[in-house]
């Protein structure tokens, strides 16, 4: 209860444009949001970028927060940012596909992404084997610490669908991790 009162006080400070309140907000949520972005992208640079963007969005949008579970509101923004990132990556990929000929020539050289993958931990490697939607659902659950009801609301789907997808995803992840 004391924690929620503290969060409410910080949110009020943010709404009145107090930089100190925003700094406190960063201290409170940077770790969880960073973990969420990192586990979804597996890339620290992209996670850095997304985390910065998230807090900038927070400054812009805090006035529109009208109560309710703050984490739910914050992770909805985080989820939207991640989807924007995916869309822009897909656009880039299409551009690259159009220049496949050049890429094939480059593919003879050692691949940078392979080298990067070696630095990923086991969980990240196995998470990357899941489909993006399931991966995001699991990340929302474990990083946002939201209830299933809130997660279902963020994803605009029935709670039964959320539970079913999460169960299948976790089962698969467990199997991958035990191999």
């Amino acid at each position: 209860m004391a924690e929620s009162a503290k969060v409410a006080r910080i949110i009020d400070g943010c709404k009145s444009g107090d930089p100190e309140s925003f700094a406190q907000m960063v201290d409170m949520y940077a770790g969880r949001c960073y973990g969420y972005f990192y586990r979804l992208t597996g890339d620290r640079d992209i996670s850095d970028e997304l985390l910065s963007e998230l807090f900038i969005k927070l400054v812009e949008k805090i006035g529109s927060y009208k109560g309710g579970v703050f984490e739910s509101w914050l992770f909805r923004i985080a989820s939207n940012l991640f989807h924007d990132h995916l869309r822009s990556r897909q656009r880039r990929r299409k551009l690259l596909d159009a220049r496949r000929f050049e890429l094939e020539r480059v593919s003879d050289e050692p691949r940078r992404s392979d080298a990067k993958e070696e630095t990923l931990d086991k969980l990240q490697v196995q998470l990357n084997r899941l489909d993006p939607d399931t991966r995001e659902l699991i990340m929302l659950r474990f990083h946002s610490e939201l209830s299933f009801k809130e997660i279902a609301r963020i994803r605009s789907e029935p709670i039964g669908t959320t539970l079913s997808k999460l169960h299948r995803g976790l089962k698969k992840l467990r199997e991958f991790m035990e191999r």
Partner: protein, 170 residues
């Protein structure tokens, strides 16, 4: 998060799955939590966190400056609107105020003439006549020329006065 406790999760899954599936789902959930506890995600770099804070402070300062500027513009706009309304509220000025009289230093005929070219020629002519007569007077007075018959100076002076009078009559 009430439904995060194992009992709530079991109950929640029990609403959508049969007992065995609900049990398995609960077990997978606990195993998943254990996996995430064991393999914690990396934390953001301290420098990144500091950079974000600086970025946010700069953005807030810029927003504050913009807000002040907008308020200034709004105040200026309000002053202009009030001034315009006050000016329009007075209505048009009376065409001829009885307290004001107008006088001209130029002859009316010249002032009202539209024929600028003709006026210019007349001015040049009168000016040259005056200069010629003045030169004659100076010459007569200095005795450089032959003495004119008596009364010629007076005649010239009269002629000069006449020309000047004609000029100002237009």
């Amino acid at each position: 998060m009430g439904d995060r406790s194992p009992e709530d999760i079991k109950a929640l899954f029990g609403r959508f799955f049969d007992a065995d599936e609900a049990e398995a789902a609960g077990e997978d959930m606990r195993a998943g939590e254990q996996i995430f506890r064991t393999h914690g995600a990396p934390a953001p770099d301290g420098e990144l966190v500091d950079f974000i804070k600086v970025q946010l402070a700069a953005r807030l300062a810029r927003r504050r400056r913009l807000a002040l500027a907008y308020r200034g513009f709004a105040a200026a706009a309000a002053v202009i609107v009030v001034a315009v309304i006050a000016l329009l509220g007075r209505g048009p000025a009376p065409p001829d105020s009885p307290n004001v009289t107008y006088a001209s230093i130029m002859p009316t005929a010249v002032w009202e003439s539209d024929d600028v070219t003709a006026d210019d020629f007349e001015l040049i002519y009168f000016d040259s006549e005056i200069q010629r007569i003045e030169a004659e007077i100076r010459a007569l007075e200095s005795g450089e020329v032959n003495v004119a018959p008596a009364g010629s100076v007076e005649e010239i002076e009269l002629e000069l006065i006449q020309i000047k009078a004609e000029f100002w009559k237009g």
